[in-house]
């Protein structure tokens, strides 16, 4: 079993290895690959949107296709790109940071990935099977109820399946952090990225059920004739908006908190300083998560909830600026007086601070319920959320990729190309979205497929589209960098950055059992402590002994495949009852796999002490 990794293998066994893997590091590769693929897809959709808006009354896309583009761009980027990429980084790094050999439930980890992947594929199959969802990424009822064709059905089933995967991933991370920290790794010694993973997982745990419920109600309304959102039959379409945003607002913190965490690690590493205000950073993260559940109605100020509800939610919204401000100042104070090294990872992090602060400021503007009547559904909102999601999450993912690439793949990304892609993307991003603030203030509504000539919108939209091309070039340079690095990148050794946290105490890439002996943690930034005290490596907390490892399994893949087939069946069974065969076949595959998993004992295997001792240190 362990020898397989060192043998030269064909493509078939390589593929089989990844299909069946339960190793958190390989699942991280899968998440990064899957998320990266959907990121490019979502980016392509964004380019189509911007090309359509390059000039007044353009006819590059038809109105219907444009609606499909904006819906799929939003849905893909949030659910299928940003979140999986973050989950990939979490999978790659968090177990290493707490000194664990894997996550708590390796099998579930794999299941979570395959559910996400099949959900994403199902959603994108809609392009070829009669049209993509076209009711916006928020899919508001009654529009989503009345949308003809199967587009919204694909949205419902695709998100339901991939959402289940995310929920499983979140619970897995929670249990891992609670139960699997190395000896001495108390909660208040965890790196900020681990803290962010932990708190993000809490948000996933509490927020996703609201989405699940909402999607089921929508599915029943569309497929089985119920009337939860149908006002004519006594339903209430506002309930969808509430359910969606009870999920949707925590969701934006699910996207940003991991980025906050990894920026904290990067700032502290490249300033050669302990993170300023560690405790305040931890509690600010908790406070953001806590407040994040009490602000969802700020997406609904113009629905007509009344002045009292609007005021309460406006004040709660503005309160979030306080912990976020604490974080911004702590990052600045971390760098203050530090021995700063500026490389690509640090550039993305430095670019994040002003960008995200602008997004936060427009956020407070939007949070004022009175002013929001002016901003609502204009390009001002579009500019705001791209400043926080691209400026926060995407910059964060790219910073994290540059920072952890040597740890994950053993090769370091090219610095020159890293810097080029940063500057092109950074300039392109601000060209694209800064001008959209003003387009919005001049009254350009979002989601419209054309705008008229000579209304002061021509120039701004042209600039915005040019910026989008810059962003595309930046991403392409990054892709070239990845290929270049894979072919002839440098192998920088285990600890290229002078790291402070436990992941840098492992090999690059880490052996499949991560730590031969679990490390003894003696404080915050454990590796840094050992370095400053002259030892330079971790003290083991246990003698060399047998290591218990999980067996690989194809069952998670089969479960995902089963739900995918059943999903297709559910979508088309309204047309012809023969499609029920797909429902039954799919469910039989999924439930059968679950049954096998439940009834067949799988105790894993042990790597024996002798085998470990034979391997070189």
């Amino acid at each position: 079993m362990s020898i397989a990794a060192t043998q030269k293998r064909g493509f078939g066994s390589f593929l089989w290895d990844y299909l069946t893997t339960v190793d958190h590091k390989k699942i991280a590769h899968l998440y990064l690959f899957g998320g990266g693929f959907f990121f490019l897809l979502g980016g392509l959709e964004a380019m189509f949107i911007r090309i359509q808006l390059i000039k007044p009354e353009n006819d590059f896309l038809s109105a219907g296709l444009y609606n499909e583009m904006i819906t799929m761009h939003g849905t893909t980027m949030i659910f299928l790109a940003a979140m999986p990429l973050l989950l990939g980084l979490m999978n790659a790094v968090m177990p290493l940071q707490i000194g664990a050999r894997d996550v708590a439930f390796p099998f579930l980890n794999s299941l979570g990935f395959w559910l996400f992947m099949f959900g994403g594929i199902l959603l994108n199959c809609s392009w070829f099977l009669g049209g993509a969802p076209d009711a916006g990424w928020t899919s508001y009822a009654p529009l989503s109820i009345q949308s003809p064709g199967h587009g919204v059905d694909f949205y419902v089933l695709g998100l339901q399946i991939s959402g289940a995967g995310t929920l499983i991933g979140g619970i897995n991370f929670l249990v891992t952090v609670v139960t699997m920290r190395a000896p001495g790794m108390t909660y208040m010694r965890m790196p900020l990225f681990t803290w962010a993973t932990f708190i993000t997982s809490v948000l996933i745990l509490f927020a996703f059920p609201a989405l699940t419920v909402g999607l089921f109600l929508l599915m029943f309304d569309r497929m089985f004739g119920s009337a939860f959102f149908d006002v004519a039959l006594g339903g209430n379409s506002i309930i969808w908006q509430h359910l969606f945003w009870i999920f949707g607002h925590p969701e934006v913190y699910i996207l940003i908190l991991p980025a906050f965490g990894l920026f904290s690690d990067i700032f502290s590493t490249f300033s050669r300083k302990r993170l300023f205000g560690y405790t305040a950073m931890v509690f600010a993260t908790m406070l953001i998560a806590f407040l994040g559940f009490m602000v969802w109605a700020h997406h609904m100020f113009t629905v007509g909830l009344g002045p009292v509800a609007n005021s309460i939610f406006a004040i709660a919204t503005m309160a979030i600026a306080v912990p976020t401000g604490i974080k911004i100042f702590n990052w600045l104070a971390t760098m203050w007086g530090g021995s700063i090294e500026i490389n690509s990872a640090m550039l993305w992090s430095l670019g994040f601070i002003p960008t995200f602060t602008i997004g936060g400021m427009t956020g407070v503007m939007l949070g004022s319920s009175v002013a929001d009547y002016q901003y609502h559904d204009t390009y001002f909102v579009v500019a705001h959320f791209h400043y926080v999601i691209v400026g926060g999450t995407v910059f964060g993912i790219l910073a994290g990729l540059h920072y952890w690439w040597p740890k994950m793949f053993g090769r370091i990304l090219n610095e020159m190309m890293g810097k080029i892609s940063f500057w092109i993307f950074f300039i392109g991003f601000h060209l694209t979205f800064f001008v959209q603030h003003f387009l919005g203030l001049m009254g350009m509504p979002r989601r419209y497929w054309v705008f008229l000539e000579d209304q002061g919108l021509d120039m701004g939209n042209l600039v915005s589209t040019i910026g989008a091309f810059f962003m595309a070039v930046g991403v392409i340079v990054f892709l070239i960098n990845i290929i270049y690095t894979a072919v002839k990148g440098e192998k920088p050794g285990d600890d290229p950055w002078g790291g402070r946290t436990l992941e840098w105490a492992t090999a690059s890439p880490p052996v499949y059992y991560n730590f031969k002996q679990l490390p003894l943690v003696r404080g915050l930034d454990p590796l840094w402590i050992e370095k400053t005290e002259g030892k330079g490596k971790m003290t083991p907390a246990e003698p060399v002994g047998d290591i218990h490892m999980p067996n690989s399994s194809i069952l998670p893949f089969m479960m995902g495949l089963g739900f995918f087939i059943a999903g297709i069946g559910f979508i088309f069974q309204v047309d012809h009852s023969a499609w029920l065969i797909a429902v039954y076949a799919g469910m039989a595959t999924a439930i059968g796999s679950m049954l096998i998993r439940s009834l067949k004992d799988d105790h894993g295997y042990h790597i024996h002490k002798e085998e470990l001792e034979r391997e070189a240190d």
Binding site: L174, V202, N236, F293, G306
Partner: protein, 107 residues
């Protein structure tokens, strides 16, 4: 040293603990059945006005949920602080949701 700590003593201490635990479990179990019977009885016999029945049922249910969490799911035991925090977090998120929906959607 090791000879002095007789395993018998530890065993008897453990047994004592287990016995007390079992007693608590049985009492709680009996109480829960009792509560269920009371709830069933007041509805079946229609002895009370609907105005009173509903809040009484809710209170009985709440107490039973408490028993369930603290005795059968061992929240009262040491080392379960994290699950307790999570459960209360979830309860908090659920209450917020329900209260808001009731107040601003259906009021």
């Amino acid at each position: 040293m090791t000879d002095n700590t007789s395993t018998n003593k530890i065993d008897s201490f453990r047994k004592q603990k287990a016995k007390e635990e079992m007693k608590k479990q049985l009492i709680t179990f009996a109480l829960m059945i009792g509560f269920t019977l009371i709830a069933f009885a007041i509805v079946a016999t229609e002895a009370m006005d609907k105005m009173f029945v509903v809040p009484i049922l809710l209170i009985l249910a709440l107490v039973q949920v408490g028993f369930q969490f603290y005795y059968f799911m061992h929240l009262k035991d040491k080392g379960n602080e994290m699950p307790a925090t999570m459960i209360y977090g979830g309860v908090w998120a659920a209450i917020l949701t329900i209260v808001t929906l009731v107040v601003i959607t259906w009021w």
